[in-house]
Symmetry: C2
Subunit: 149 residues, 2 copies
DNA sequence: CACAAAAAAGACAAAACGATCTTTTTTATT
DNA sequence: AATAAAAAAGATCGTTTTGTCTTTTTTGTG
């Protein structure tokens, strides 16, 4: 569904949403370690997010990445648009150029409701709202330190 | 979600399910034209499907691809397993190594139910059942000839 | 048998994606 | 001013995916 890049980006944003603010900035190195993602790759993604106003950053010693008030009002959907673009969600599951109720493919009726619902949730829920949920539900953005067998 | 290859394969199988049988075989050329897919690429995929018993074929003049009784009892899921493998459905939406209710990621609760539902439908519905539906509902596996603006 | 039609097989090319590395710019601290 | 820490920028590399091409094998037909 999403590219690796996009998954890293979303997790990084959530990490920043939880652990950073205007006065607590975090460097790529730390983020990459915590999320167990390739560091230079993540750096590039963070740049892209920063230039699209989804993440804030300051250079120099003590600098790093963080989310400000504005950034926290963005949504997962904004991140997806920024990194992957929307076409994956527009396209038909079987590769027809357009997914539409007008000329549905044979799996349209099973796939389409799902797509719409997820899309709405991703679009409507702000990062800060999502972080609230994370704190309540105890969900997880990294498996670092987990002992999976 | 699915690779291009897999989408082509599914559509090709559905095409064959509708238009072929033991006595009416169809060549790659025709199939590729009707589905508007790259011909040599599709040929390779059909070979793969054939060697996995999802499609039947005969060589020589008058030969071609077709679905026999057995082939029509397979499911979309079988095609996906054959071409893409299952890992895309096992993996977490945000890229955590395992998607599980045990250590859910922040979007697990919105994504997971749908994944399960779709997976079941793909697994349980045979190709022949699906073709029945296609005939009733008038869904479409190619946009060839459609005038989309 | 000779021929032609078709799939089977596999080598090869191009593009997208994933990831790394090096250099430059900015800036806080000494 | 010098230094060092950090992001910004961009060049580069490897792999996977996608797609093409050529050759071989099989087989029905005249
Ligand atoms: S038309 Fe294929 S998923 Fe909607
Ligand atoms: S754990 Fe992420 S989708 Fe299930």
């Amino acid at each position: 569904m999403l590219s690796n890049a996009c998954k890293y980006a979303i997790r990084a944003i959530l990490y920043l949403a939880i652990h950073s603010d205007e006065t607590t900035k975090i460097g790529v190195k730390k983020i990459a370690e915590e999320l167990e993602t390739p560091q230079p790759f993540l750096a590039k993604l963070l740049r892209q997010l920063t230039s699209n106003k989804l993440v804030s950053s300051t250079k120099g010693p003590g600098g790093g990445f963080f989310l400000d008030k504005n950034n926290k009002e963005k949504s997962i959907w904004d991140v997806i648009c920024c990194i992957d673009g929307t076409h994956k969600f527009d396209k038909c599951f079987l590769g027809l150029s357009k997914c539409s109720d007008k000329n549905p493919c044979p799996v349209h009726s099973t796939v389409s409701p799902f797509k719409k619902k997820i899309l709405n949730e991703f679009r409507d829920k702000t990062i800060s709202k999502l972080v609230e949920e994370i704190e309540v539900e105890g969900t997880v953005i990294s498996l670092k330190g987990f002992d999976l067998k």
